[in-house]
């Protein structure tokens, strides 16, 4: 007996779809890896253009030798008070440098990335911003990326 009364019936309740897995295996030990940071927390140089807090799909490049006091946050989606006290809360560049100095990792990348995540134009992030950021990191030849966000 066929239990289906109407074929192809879908619920009118929207259910989230989790995207397919993506995976690049790690091939080196940590002490041979150059690491870059990429953050969705809206971090950028104080001298750089601020993000538009209402929605912004652009990104900023942060040099690896930056003084962390020259960095700031513009992001409309979370409480900035902790990160205003200490940028390392979301962009741990000083901590990454310390781990490189102690030899835990091989080194830190010449370029790191800040953008304003947490929503906005999702298709622009998927189709344009994301691939552009990936291209910069690929070109500088990093072995791994640590992100913050979510």
């Amino acid at each position: 007996m066929d239990m289906t009364v109407i074929k192809g019936l879908q619920s009118e309740i929207y259910v989230p779809v989790t995207p397919k897995p993506v995976w690049t295996p790690v091939t080196k030990p940590l002490n041979e890896m150059v690491i870059a940071l990429a953050t969705a927390a809206g971090v950028h140089l104080k001298s750089d253009k601020r993000f538009n807090l209402a929605g912004d799909t652009s990104y900023r490049i942060i040099p690896g030798d930056v003084d962390s006091h020259d960095l700031m946050v513009s992001h409309g989606g979370y409480d900035n008070s902790d990160v205003n006290k200490d940028i390392n809360c979301m962009f741990p560049i000083d901590r990454l440098r310390e781990l490189a100095e102690e030899g835990f990792i091989k080194g830190i990348a010449p370029k790191h990335i800040g953008f304003m995540g947490g929503g906005g134009d999702v298709s622009a992030f998927r189709e344009k911003t994301g691939p552009e950021i990936a291209k910069i990191l690929k070109e500088e030849g990093v072995d791994g990326v640590v992100m913050t966000g979510g």
Binding site: L30, I35, D82, N88, P92, D94, R95, K135, V145, V146
Partner: protein, 83 residues
């Protein structure tokens, strides 16, 4: 997580330090660590270099250790923001 997926798809292994692991799971992040922190202090308490260094070090270890896409590893560090 969208940008993380783009970087991973370009051939670079990635890991995200997240305050909201359910959001990470939903968006298909390949690797994630989750310390007990509020949004905005994902790497730990402000001006607490030891906690931040430990969270970053443990995250780098998980970058190598995690062997299954989508795995989220809780980290044993706690910071509660005083709001």
């Amino acid at each position: 997580m969208i940008v993380q997926r783009a970087i991973e798809e370009a051939g670079i292994p990635t890991i995200i330090i997240a305050a909201l692991p359910p959001v990470v799971r939903q968006n298909g992040s390949p690797r994630c660590t989750a310390p007990l922190v509020p949004m905005g202090a994902n790497v730990g308490e402000p001006n607490n270099p030891e906690m931040q260094r430990n969270i970053l070090r443990d995250t780098l270890i998980q970058l190598v250790e995690i062997d299954t896409p989508g795995k989220i590893v809780p980290l044993p560090y706690e910071y509660t923001a005083k709001i």
